[in-house]
Structure formats: C-alpha cells, structure tokens
C-alpha cells in the first residue's frame, strides 16, 4: 500500500513500565481525516506520539510516509508532519504572532531571519484560524478557544502536508469544539492536508472523520471507514456501555446515543 501516511508493525511502547501499546499493527491512510478513538489509557495518544517520534517505541517498526522513523532528520520530519500535543505550553507573555512564528523553525536557514515565505505562511495560518486580529495579544490573555486556535495556527504555519492533533477539543465547550473541527475539515478538504486526531467524543468522530481507528488495551481493535467501525456492538464491546445509533432528520451524520450498561 503506497498511500499509507504512517504504519506501525508489532510496536510495543511503555510509560514507566506500564504497557501503553501492545504489539500493535496499524495503517493510517494518506489524504483523509483519521480519528483515533478509544477509552482512557487505550493507547491512542501514545500511538500518535510514537508516530511523531515524541515517544520511543520499545520494539517494532514505525514508518512515516514510507520511510522508517529513525531515518528522518528532525527538521525533515517536522516539514513532513506537524503535531499539536495534548497540553502545549509557552510563556504567557508570548504574543500570538511570536508563537505562530515558532512553527517556522524547520524552514529557517541557520543565519537567516524571517523570510518572506515565513511571513506569508504565518499570515495564512492566522487567517485560517481567524487569529489575525489577535496577532499582537499575549497568549496569557486569550480565552480557552482562542488559545487553542493560536496553537493550531502555529501547527499550520509549519506547512506540513500531514497534521497530528492530540485531543484538540479538550477543555473546549461544544461551540469551540465545532469551530476547531470545522477548521480541521477545511484544512483537509480545501488544502488537501491529511489530519490524524485523537478524539474522545464519538459523535464528533462520526461527523468529521473519514476513517476511524478504535483502540482498546493497547491494540487497534478496528480500523476502517467511520461508519463501518463505529457500530453498536463494537462500541458496546470496547467501552462497556450500551448505545444506539439514530438518525436525526435533516442531518447526514448518524448520532450516537450512549446509555449506561
């Protein structure tokens, strides 16, 4: 399969001795929005971190865009895959503009300052995230939704054809969560970027993802087109809850109603 964005083969990863990924095999498609779903501690965030080289796999093979991970130089990997981690952190006095510029690190020449290309990429990223008006504001004075958009702008400014987002809707209310995911959809549909994101909210995955990987206990138990993977028996089995999938009139995406066991 030549159009794989990334691939894990028999990968095991641990955090402080606790197994997070257990001999997992995984293929992620290029050009799509892929959601990694599963219960807490099922390994979905770890899988994303291993794929981006932020966490070292203990064994197994990791491949990104057809090349083994260890063959990538840090800057080349950054140009190929951008990632926003789960709890990014920068000093509160940093302005939005300065933060977004940090996304250009991999494109900088050693002794050169900001190039015209850097400026253009930052401006595009801030426009896409509707942060242009807030460019001069310190990030410590942004609301939760604005802050998340600022970080996403930094990630977009990196100009990578593939973007990984680790729980990008965490800490956001429903309206802001929709805003972020609409942005993700635009990035995919109009700019043709592949997006892989960890999502807790299965309804959001149902609505925005093309492809879903369902994690359970460090393994990928299902992987495929969204509506094939997110079915009632599968969700019941993985999350240990009852659920119904219903169709709301006028809405294309099915809605998942979760019920206690």
């Amino acid at each position: 399969m030549a159009d794989a964005l990334a691939r894990l083969r028999a990968v095991t990863a641990r955090y402080d001795g606790v197994t997070a990924l257990d001999l997992i095999d995984l293929d992620l498609p290029e050009g799509r929005i892929t959601a990694l779903c599963g219960p807490n501690g099922s390994g979905k965030s770890t899988a994303l971190r291993v794929l981006r080289g932020l966490h070292q796999a203990e064994q197994g093979e990791v491949e990104v865009a057809g090349r083994p991970l260890r063959d990538w130089a840090p800057k080349d990997l950054a140009k190929a895959v951008a990632m926003l981690s789960q709890s990014p952190d920068a000093p509160p006095e940093l302005t939005v503009q300065d933060l977004v510029r940090l996304g250009r690190f991999a494109h900088r020449k050693r002794f050169a300052g900001q190039s015209g290309e850097d400026h253009a990429a930052c401006a595009r990223a801030m426009r896409a995230t509707e942060m242009t008006d807030l460019a001069a504001r310190p990030i410590g004075r942004l609301s939760g939704g604005q802050l998340q958009r600022a970080w996403i702008a930094m990630t977009i400014a990196q100009d990578a054809p593939r973007i990984f987002l680790d729980e990008p809707t965490n800490h956001l209310d429903v309206a802001h969560a929709f805003e972020v995911l609409e942005l993700v959809r635009r990035l995919n549909r109009t700019e043709g970027r592949s997006v892989v994101l960890v999502l807790h909210d299965l309804n959001m995955a149902m609505r925005y993802a093309d492809h879903v990987v369902l994690f359970d206990k460090g393994r990928a138990v299902a992987s495929g087109p969204t509506r094939e993977v997110l079915n009632e028996p599968q969700i019941t089995q993985v999350f240990g809850i009852r659920c119904r999938i219903v169709h709301v009139s006028g809405e294309d995406a099915p809605t998942l109603v979760t019920l206690p066991r």
Partner: protein, 339 residues
C-alpha cells in the same frame, strides 16, 4: 521601555555601560574626573593618568564587566533550557561546585611551605571540573527522581547540593593551610581586586567563543520557550540541544567564577532585568542580558571598593544583597500562580 526599537534599547545599555566604565575607572585612592579618564582611555591623557587607567584600574573594570556578562548569559541559558525563571548558576549549585574545584585545587596542590606545586593557571580548569561535576549531579538526581522532574524539584536538588558544596569548601579551608584559607576566602565571596590583563583575556576569549555558539544556536534557543513535545514537533532535536546549551551555561559560569570568585545571583537577576527592559522574546535578548550583567557586576564591584574605602567589601556580598530578595519574590510569585 519595550516600545523603543530593539537596537535603540541595546544602544542605551551600551551607553550606560560605557558611562559606568568611565565613572568606575575614575574612582579609587586618587580620584580622577570623568574627562581625564576619557582622555586617558582614548590615549590623549597625561602619562601618569594613562598608567593608572590602563595598568591599575582598567583590568579590574574589564574583568568585572566580562565576568558579569558570562554569568548573566549562563543564567539566561539555564532559565531557557530548564524553562524555569528561578534557575540560575548559584541556585543550581554550579557556582559553589566551581568553588569546590578551585579551593580543592589550592588545597591539593600546596606543599608544606604553602607554595603551589603547579601553576595557578590550572585553577580555572579545576573550577570548571567542579562546576560540571555538581551540575551533573543535580541533573542525575533530578533525572532519577521518581516523583517527576518538576521545575521546583530541580531547584531543590540544586539548593541542597549548593549547601553540600559550601560545607565541603568550609572543611577544605579548615583542614587546609592557613595562608591558603585566607586566599580562598577572598576568592569565595567574589572579589575582583587582583585583576590582570591576562585574566581579562581568558574571560574575553571564552566569551567570544560562546557568542559565536549562541549566534549559531539562537533560533534553537528561542524555540525552547515551548514545552519539550511542542519544541520537538517543530523540528528541534530537544535532548541534544538541552545538553549542549546546559554545558555551555556551566562552562560560562565556571569561566567567570574561576577568575573573579563566587559572585552569586547575577545569573538570576540580569535575565529578569533584561526581560523587563528589553523583552524575553525580542531579538537581542541575550545581548541585553549580557550588557545588564556587565553593568550589575561593575556597579557592585565599584560600590564594594568605595563604600568603606580603604576597606574593600567583596562584590559577591552586594550582588547577593540584590539577588536573594528577587529569588524569594520569584518563589512566592511561583507559588501564587501555580495554585
């Protein structure tokens, strides 16, 4: 201040440092007005003035400035690499580690007649060894800590090891030869009294090499304001960058301490002043930090030799007087913001 363009702010600092240099050079047992100092500096002064300025006073002034620059840069690097505004060479045990090396050197290489059996020029190397040993210990302890590597943990290990280093120095001085103890004591509290041009050149060369390295690494240094995951995701080889910059910070401190003694808190204060005056994310932040470090140590040394003349106080006592309250304030502020 931060709404002036960066080069103008740096220009202001250079002017301040220049004025202070003229003023400090004029002060001493025979007072010289700034006009005569400037004339002597530019080579138009009377012959006697030129001897006083160039041979007697300027080495000390230059050494104070350069040591201040090295300490300030070291502090700024440590704060950036550890992402901790409280980090500084004296707080992470590096300054006292250098002191153990230097005093240990005096103790180990003296013969029965209190004479050094090797050249005193090896002392900086001993200080550097001590600084790296203690920095390494702090790093290893923080790394092995099962309770996580929180910013305050690192500070606690640093403070604990600094205390240990101070105790070791005291012991060395008690068991060591008396004459050496006296020499070590003046050195420890930080005194720039015995400055020669050769010392100045050593520090200047070290600073010049560091400046080149910092220039090459400047975009990486800027990138380290991000948490490690985000920095790595933008393409920084984080582990390698941290180790290299830490080593440079330790080297800069050892360089300064080996020449002027354990002048503390400059590495803590200067970056904070630069942050207020210049902004930590504006271009030229490290240059501003270095200039402010030079100003602080030169001012401290000048006040130290004038305030109770002809007695000289150690400059390190004055910088501690300024730095320790800032350290406390940062600790209190940190507690407030982190709940």
């Amino acid at each position: 201040m931060t709404n002036l363009p960066p080069f103008l702010r740096l220009g202001l600092l250079v002017a301040l440092l220049g004025a202070l240099t003229v003023l400090a050079t004029g002060m001493g047992s025979s007072h010289m007005p700034p006009g005569r100092v400037a004339a002597a500096l530019l080579g138009y002064g009377a012959r006697m003035d030129e001897v006083i300025v160039w041979t007697l006073r300027l080495p000390r002034v230059a050494l104070a400035i350069l040591a201040g620059m090295a300490l300030a840069l070291s502090g700024a690097l440590l704060q950036r690499v550890t992402r901790n505004p409280i980090a500084a060479p004296s707080i992470l045990g590096i300054t006292d580690g250098a002191a153990v090396g230097a005093v240990g050197f005096l103790w180990a290489f003296s013969d029965d007649a209190n004479l050094l059996v090797v050249s005193i020029h090896w002392q900086p190397l001993a200080a550097i060894t001590g600084a790296f040993a203690f920095a390494g210990l702090v790093t290893i302890l923080a790394f092995l800590d099962p309770g996580g590597r929180g910013p305050l943990r690192v500070i606690l290990y640093g403070v604990a090891l600094a205390a240990l280093a101070k105790a070791a120095v005291t012991l060395l001085m008690i068991v060591g030869p008396v004459y050496r103890a006296g020499q070590a004591l003046t050195w420890l509290t930080g005194s720039i009294a015995a400055a020669h041009w050769s010392d100045v050149f050593v520090v200047a060369a070290g600073l010049a090499i560091s400046a080149v390295l910092l220039l090459v690494a400047r975009s990486t240094i800027r990138q380290l304001v991000l948490d490690t995951d985000s920095a790595a995701a933008t393409g920084v080889p984080v582990g390698r960058a941290q180790v290299a910059l830490l080593a440079l910070a330790v080297g800069l401190t050892a360089l300064a301490v080996s020449q002027v003694g354990a002048i503390g808190f400059v590495g803590l204060v200067a970056p904070h002043v630069a942050r207020l005056f210049h902004g930590a994310f504006a271009g030229g932040y490290l240059a501003a930090t270095a200039l402010i470090g030079g100003v602080i140590v030169l001012a401290a040394d000048t006040v130290a030799r004038m305030i109770a003349a002809p007695l000289e106080l150690p400059a390190g006592a004055l910088t501690a007087l300024l730095g320790a309250p800032l350290f406390l304030w940062l600790l209190l502020k940190g507690r407030r913001t982190h709940g």
